[in-house]
């Protein structure tokens, strides 16, 4: 018996010893860890996970934002508008082919846009009046309105996918992809990992690509790591060369360690607290109560507690990275922490000790944030309960202001107007999950900004001030984005994305 036992033990030890030491292999592959790998390769996807680092490598788009937030042509050669942004004529480059050899022409571009309109996964396509082919390589795009950013978003979200290849796929590119991109996805494991390799038969020379999306690495491997501690471990053991969007607590460990380079950038979304607009909620029509809540929140402490100091307060409701943000707002007062004032406002308000509920996601930092907010509000004499729910519950109830009084969310977009359009447009009431309120005064202010000539500092200021004064939403804080890589991969010639964080596949490496 003992013998048997020892044999087993020996076998296990041997098995363990059999493993090779995981040194970082210099194999020319850039291994990147990210919190999400998509569950499908389909080019038609909702806004969720839209800012993941890999989409610009999987598919080419008609246009692309460079880090200066300027739209550069990519598959499109040029475009112009004659009627102040309602109608655009777009011309594609010649000779575009996807990896199956199918040419990408105006037919395909029109098909892709029409398909996107039909699938309605992204609200921006809802703003298209019509799209028509006008030549082999030209098409005309008519918009319902000339809201700033609409055309740009359509250009960046319309991909180089040919109809022929798409229709040949049994599962709409669910598990494999044919695109015009110089990278071909060679090994895709849904929600786990995928590899991209530069292909020989790319339709143009790499040098002809826009610099902000010009690939430099022959092979890139993305791995999904959901567990924070495993992200760090993967970096240390050489499983990956780089971790993007690392949780702050994990990322901080590598700061000051010469073996790792840590890059901190402003978050591009920030966290917001939205107040319910439903009449049943005590906060809906009680500006003083909302302001009291805003005053009760100690943003500095919030940043300390949740980001360990690695974040910045928000001076607008939304992130400073967005186009339209005005740095002068940083000199204004934005409900600084003032408990006395908060208490005074509570006293002046109609609040009668009701328990207010905070709805938030049950994942990530949100429940912790809700607990800190709860503690702050308690100090001002406001009773709060937390409802940290799963995503499905949130999606189902976010429109129903009777189900919550406050809602923590994180809102993205390239333009401030993007965020506003989704959150505060009373005409799009059904999609306004921020406030679920019909505020036509705010609506008019918004519409003012939605024309190319109306998107002015003055008009934007008006919206900013209205939001701040009414306090129907409040910017909590903006955590830094952490990206860390092993110094020995020799990352040089840093290229940044539109969200101002590093775009690793376009940088140059000396030690891969």
């Amino acid at each position: 018996m003992k013998k048997l036992f020892s044999i087993l033990l020996a076998a296990i030890v041997a098995l363990a010893l059999f493993g090779t030491v995981l040194a970082a292999p210099k194999d020319g592959v850039l291994d990147i860890a990210y919190s999400i790998v998509p569950d499908s390769l389909t080019p038609f996807r909702p806004e969720v996970n839209r800012d993941a680092p890999y989409f610009t490598q999987i598919c080419e788009s008609l246009g692309v934002f460079n880090s200066d937030k300027v739209l550069e042509p990519w598959l499109a050669k040029s475009w112009n508008t004659d009627d102040n942004g309602f109608t655009y004529t777009v011309e594609l480059r010649e000779g575009i082919k996807d990896s199956a050899g199918n040419p990408f022409t105006a037919d395909d571009a029109v098909w892709f846009i029409q398909e996107s309109v039909a699938r309605a996964l992204k609200p921006v396509y809802n703003k298209i009046e019509s799209v028509e082919k006008t030549g082999d390589l030209t098409f005309e795009l008519k918009l319902k309105s000339n809201i700033v950013g609409t055309f740009e978003k359509i250009m960046t979200e319309s991909y180089g996918i040919t109809k022929a290849s798409f229709e040949a796929s049994p599962d709409e590119f669910g598990s494999s992809l044919v695109s015009t991109s110089p990278y071909a996805v060679t090994n895709f494991v849904a929600s786990s990992e995928f590899t991209m390799e530069l292909r020989e038969d790319y339709w143009q020379a790499l040098e002809d690509m826009p610099a902000c999306v010009r690939p430099t690495v022959a092979k890139v491997h993305y791995v999904q790591i959901a567990e924070a501690s495993q992200m760090g471990i993967a970096l240390e053991t050489g499983v990956v060369d780089m971790v993007m969007r690392m949780p702050i607590a994990t990322g901080m460990q590598y700061e000051g360690n010469p073996a790792y380079t840590v890059e901190k950038t402003s978050g591009h979304q920030g966290y917001q607290l939205f107040f319910s607009g439903a009449d049943t909620s005590p906060v809906a029509n009680d500006q003083k109560l909302r302001q009291a809540i805003a005053y009760s929140i100690n943003n500095e402490a919030l940043i300390q507690a949740l980001a360990y100091g690695n974040g910045e307060p928000l001076y607008d409701v939304h992130s400073p990275v967005m186009i339209g943000y005005n740095p002068k707002w940083e000199n204004e007062e934005n409900y600084p922490y003032d408990l006395a004032k908060a208490k005074q406002l509570v006293a002046e308000s109609d609040y009668k000790g009701q328990t207010l509920s905070i709805l938030c996601s049950g994942n990530g930092d949100m429940p912790r944030m809700a607990q800190v907010l709860q503690a702050f509000m308690m100090q001002a004499g406001i009773n709060v309960e937390i409802n940290a729910a799963e995503m499905a519950y949130i999606v189902a109830n976010r429109l129903d202001g009777t189900k919550y009084d406050m809602f923590i969310n994180t809102i993205g977009g390239v333009y401030l107007a993007d965020a506003w359009a989704i959150r505060y447009d009373p005409n799009a009431y059904s999609t306004g999950d921020g406030t679920s309120r019909h505020d036509y005064v705010l609506g008019d202010l918004l519409y003012e900004t939605w024309t190319p000539e109306g998107y002015t500092e003055e008009n934007i200021d008006k919206v900013h001030n209205y939001l701040k004064e009414s306090c129907i939403a409040y910017g909590l804080y903006n955590p830094y984005n952490y990206c860390a890589w092993r110094t020995d991969i020799g990352l040089t010639n840093e290229v940044y994305s539109v969200s101002q964080h590093i775009a690793p596949t376009y940088c140059t490496y000396t030690g891969l």
């Binding site: 018996m1 493993g19 999609t431």
Partner: protein, 323 residues
């Protein structure tokens, strides 16, 4: 024997049908409109209505249930994921083997270590080996899984660099740490089960008979006692197997293994009904097959049970299947 197996396989059909109906019904009661979740928080009302119609969510419950059952049981098609359009069979085909591998490696470790430990404890009852084994086993039950998992990773991957810390790219080697983590509970239960069942067997008369024949003590334990003590362990093996198939989501998350657990849980969160239903049906089939194998293992171990199966005595078989 073959008739028995066929009969059992036929029995699986109503069970799988029941599972399909139950899961379908439960998912219908889940709050949240799948169309909304697929389209995301920025969807327009029209798009939502169209998607809801497309998914057939406007049909009455019984119609939807009927359609689904026809698809699954007559057309034998689990459909495609609402979220990704990928065929569910394809996804399961990729993911089930990973979960199965993980489960099998886990069970191999749990029983490979648990049975010898239980035997050592039983043969040294009330001596230090016994106490030590049982303390070890109790600790195994008590330690939370993922805590232990990360400790293993820190030791074997970060400090020693022996084993991969996550992922599945290193073949079987990738499964060792996750399995070692996942096995603790089963290992402990197995050790304790083996101990108590061996203690019972060791006291039985035929063991004394074996000793009186001059059978060496090792053979008494291995040849005579173990085989008799195996039956409760096999029972445990079956239930642990079933438990693990669907209970690996934590291990799969911690070790970044794209298996069935994470597949189903993501689908529950996304209200991706066909995936939850299809995944669960497959797990139920796997579980039922595994239970059949367990019952056949009984027969292999115990001729009395085999005789019952072969006897085709309906009542007896049923009794056995339920015991």
């Amino acid at each position: 024997m073959i008739r028995y197996v066929l009969k059992r396989i036929l029995w699986m059909i109503p069970i799988v049908l029941g599972v399909a109906i139950l899961v379908f019904t439960l998912m219908t009661f889940c709050p949240g409109n799948p169309a909304e979740i697929i389209l995301g928080s920025t969807a327009t009302e029209d798009a939502l209505l169209a998607k809801t119609e497309e998914l057939g969510l406007n049909d009455p419950f019984l119609v939807r249930l009927g359609n689904y059952l026809v698809d699954v049981f007559i057309k034998r098609d689990l459909g495609a994921s609402w979220a990704t359009n990928v065929s569910i069979m394809t996804s399961i085909g990729e993911r089930l083997p990973r979960t199965l591998t993980l489960t099998l490696v886990t069970l191999f470790l749990a029983f490979g270590l648990g049975i010898p430990l239980g035997i050592v404890a039983a043969t040294h009852q009330n001596q230090w080996q016994d106490s030590l084994s049982m303390v070890f086993a109790l600790i195994g039950v008590a330690i939370p899984n993922f805590w232990l998992g990360l400790m293993f990773v820190l030791l074997f991957s970060v400090r020693l660099g022996w084993l991969p810390s996550m992922g599945i790219s290193d073949g079987l080697k990738s499964y060792i740490l996750p399995a070692a983590t996942a096995m603790m509970g089963a290992f402990a239960t197995c050790a304790r089960q083996t101990r108590s069942s061996m203690l019972e067997v060791i006291r039985s008369d035929y063991i004394t008979t074996a000793r009186s024949k001059g059978v060496p003590e090792r053979d008494v334990i291995v040849k005579h006692a173990l085989k008799n003590g195996l039956i409760p362990i096999i029972t445990m093996f079956g239930s642990t197997f079933g438990h693990m198939l669907g209970g690996m989501m934590i291990i799969e998350t911690v070790f970044a293994i794209p298996g069935m657990g994470t597949y189903i849980i993501t689908a529950v969160n996304n209200r991706d009904y066909p995936v939850v239903q299809g995944g669960t049906i497959f797990l139920a089939i796997t579980f039922s097959l595994c239970m059949l194998i367990v019952d056949l293992l009984y027969a292999a171990v115990d001729p009395r049970i085999k005789a019952q199966y072969e006897g085709q005595n309906k009542k007896k078989i049923k009794k056995e299947a339920e015991a």
